[in-house]
């Protein structure tokens, strides 16, 4: 029963809440649609927190994504044990990096008086959520070996079934609790995107790469005025 709630109902609710609320907040209060940077108040511990965290989680997340998009290729590539070992070790290293980073970020939030001023309850909550997520991921990597292999055959089909609106519980029900926690926690993170500083990754400035260096804004079409009158 709990499985049905967590793995068939929750993902859709999470997705809908995240989408609707993110759009709503962007349209009504875009002034607040970013996270409050605190580097200006403290930038030393931030380096040891933010940098390992972001690079670690980016690599690990893209690993998950590649596995989801190309399960056959990943499986085939990992069929040679050395390759699989290298992939697993790499993932584990970046996972540990992310874990170290997020712990550093929590430590920083609690130790600097200036940072305490700009810390909200939600900041702490999502940091704890992230520690749980990364820690469970690292533990899974350690105790349920060759995750890259079994992820492609048991979890990817589940995610795909969710995506095509017919969630198949058979894939997830037999999994150990730790892995179930990892999935549910990931869904919770999705829910909290529009309610927390997670929002910043919805506004990642990719368009900067191909925009002009300078922007000039005219209040009116300067050439049209003269033509009209």
């Amino acid at each position: 029963m709990l499985d049905i709630l967590l793995f068939t109902v929750l993902p859709y609710m999470a997705f809908i809440v995240a989408m609707v609320m993110a759009l709503y907040r962007y349209r009504t209060n875009s002034f607040k649609f970013s996270s409050l940077s605190s580097e200006f108040l403290e930038n030393n511990h931030l380096f040891w927190g933010s940098v390992p965290w972001h690079y670690g989680i980016l690599v690990v997340l893209s690993g998950h994504l590649i596995g989801f998009l190309f399960p056959r290729h990943v499986l085939a590539f990992g069929s040679i044990p050395v390759r699989l070992l290298i992939m697993e070790v790499t993932a584990l290293i970046f996972g540990l990096m992310a874990l170290f980073g997020v712990c550093m970020l929590i430590y920083r939030r609690f130790t600097h008086s200036r940072i305490k001023i700009v810390t909200t309850g939600m900041d702490i909550f999502i940091l704890v959520l992230l520690v749980g997520q990364v820690l469970s991921g690292v533990l899974i990597a350690l105790f349920y070996r060759w995750g890259i292999n079994w992820y492609t055959v048991s979890l990817v089909p589940y995610l795909k079934s969710v995506l095509v609106l017919s969630p198949n519980l058979n894939y997830v029900s037999p999994l150990p609790h730790l892995i179930k926690y990892h999935i549910v926690s990931a869904i919770l993170i999705l829910v909290f995107i529009p309610f927390s500083r997670f929002m910043h990754f919805l506004v990642v400035p990719v368009h900067y790469l191909w925009r002009n260096w300078q922007r000039v804004i005219w209040n009116y079409d300067r050439k049209m005025i003269r033509k009209r009158y």
Binding site: F33, S34, S35, V51, L209, R215, R228, Y229
Partner: protein, 495 residues
């Protein structure tokens, strides 16, 4: 020709008395808010000194501005690759302690403390954390400390001076200082705008004011690094960057920016410059030596019929063109070539210009007699208390000739007036000085008037914003006429 208009400024440093009234006017109007307490959009620095934030001119540390590498001009510490690479942690970002921790005093303790044996005191508390702090720095902590080991000695401009010249500046009898009031330069090639990953910073087409869209700013803080003058500030409370807005709400209604209006020494001039935007790209890529000259060339003559026609074709209002013709800034910068940009080597093409100060040694004591007779016209300039090299590092991209020519002109104007007012030298002597400086008597007279006898309306020429024509700018008047009368915020369109 792509003629655009810019509201531009000149600060006459000979007249600055370092009173900080401009800073206070700005502070009261714009930055007396939570998160903005540490910001001084306008500040006055003592030179030699380290300024605000501490050592802002040291681009090895802060990596501000543009830099020419080979043939390419790139942002030194931000930009598409360098900026995004550092987006998780920006090592070049100045932090609160590079400015100072803002504070107030617990004044209430003076009257609400319980009775006791000790006199109650108002202890300083941080405006960030609210905790008691030891005050260690302020926004003008180097004020008047030109001989200081802590501040003046660390001035980044000393890099241009030899060891001997540096030591000379710290001789007790030769100690010298000048004031440098600074606001946002509203550059033609703003590094802050180019560095903003969100594209929140833009230059207003009509008047060239550089603004940060607070709705679009996403707190990546790259503008703070990119601005070599450190005139964009990060508000730690709102998580948005802010900067001098040239008091555009005041300018739009024909009022003068607060810092300029309140200036006690009347050192500030504001007016329109017309420039050719097509030249900017080439200009940015010029060699260091030609930057100032190139910028002068890009500023065009508002009386030239071709320029006027091109400006009109670009939609520049006649009032703007007229203001450009009356602009005091045009005279200082282009006509008389007396006003120079600050640190043009940062390649942002700043549109705030400075008339460098004249700090001559007018006389000296020889064998107990005070001697103030100059042998030649400009002996005193060569013996300037502030080395010309130092001024060149600030205003001339190291080109001493440029500074010398400005100082000669300023000196010649003084000699010219002196020959009239004091009559202790022959008119021929003054004429000779003018000739050598490259000025006519008429020009000298005009410079004198705009320096010393200028009225409010001569110093500030602001074009009318023509709000009565505001609708005509955006749509046909007759269309608009049919739409007004009943107040719908959104039109009554239905599908």
């Amino acid at each position: 020709m792509d003629i655009r208009s810019q509201i531009s400024m000149v600060f006459h440093l000979d007249k600055c008395i370092g009173c900080h009234t401009c800073s206070i006017a700005c502070k009261n109007l714009w930055t007396d808010r939570k998160g903005a307490e540490y910001m001084w959009w306008n500040n006055v620095e003592t030179k030699p000194g380290t300024g605000y934030p501490h050592k802002w001119e040291d681009q090895e540390e802060y990596k501000g501005g543009w830099v020419k590498i080979g043939k390419r001009v790139e942002l030194r510490g931000a930009g598409k690759f360098r900026g995004l690479k550092n987006i998780f942690h920006n090592p070049h970002l100045p932090v609160l302690d590079d400015y100072y921790e803002p504070w107030t005093y617990k004044y209430d303790d003076l009257i609400s403390s319980p009775e006791g044996n000790d006199q109650p005191t108002a202890r300083p508390v941080s405006l960030v954390t609210g905790e008691h702090i030891e005050i260690k720095a302020g926004p003008n902590w180097d004020d008047d400390l030109s001989g200081s080991e802590l501040y003046a000695k660390n001035d980044a401009n000393f890099a241009a001076l030899s060891k001997k010249e540096q030591e000379d500046m710290f001789n007790l009898e030769r100690l010298v200082m000048m004031y440098l009031p600074r606001i946002c330069n509203h550059c033609l090639n703003p590094a802050c705008a180019a560095a903003c990953p969100s594209g929140a910073i833009y230059k207003r087409g009509e008047d060239g004011v550089v603004l940060i869209n607070q709705e679009q700013c996403r707190a990546w803080r790259m503008c703070v690094t990119a601005c070599p003058y450190k005139k964009t500030f990060y508000n730690w409370h709102t998580g948005k960057s802010e900067k001098c807005i040239l008091c555009y709400p005041r300018i739009e209604v024909g009022e003068i920016p607060a810092c300029m209006h309140s200036c006690v020494g009347r050192i500030r001039y504001l007016g329109v410059l017309l420039y050719d935007a097509e030249k900017i790209e080439k200009l940015v890529h010029l060699e260091d030596d030609h930057l100032i000259e190139g910028q002068r060339e890009a500023i065009v003559d508002p009386f030239d019929p071709k320029v006027i026609a091109a400006a009109r074709a670009n939609g520049i209002h006649d009032a703007m063109i007229e203001a450009a013709q009356k602009s005091p800034v045009y005279r200082w910068v282009k006509e008389w070539k007396l006003a120079l940009p600050l640190h043009a080597e940062y390649r942002t093409l700043p549109m705030l210009f400075y008339v460098p100060p004249l700090l001559p040694i007018m006389g000296n004591v020889t064998e107990g007699t005070y001697n103030n007779k100059n042998q030649t016209y400009f002996t005193s300039i060569e013996q300037s208390r502030l080395p010309i090299k130092y001024l060149a590092s600030l205003f001339g991209v190291g080109n001493e000739g440029l500074i010398r020519s400005v100082l000669k002109k300023l000196m010649a104007v003084r000699l010219h007036r002196r020959s009239i007012e004091v009559s202790d030298m022959t008119p021929e002597f003054a004429e000779g000085a003018l000739r050598e400086a490259g000025l006519t008597a008429r020009e000298a007279e005009e410079i004198f008037k705009l320096t010393s006898l200028c009225t409010f309306v001569e110093r500030f020429v602001i074009p009318a914003s023509h709000r009565e024509e505001a609708i005509e700018m955006t749509k046909m008047v007759l269309d608009h006429k049919g739409e007004t009368g009943f107040g719908f915020l959104d039109g009554p369109e239905r599908i």
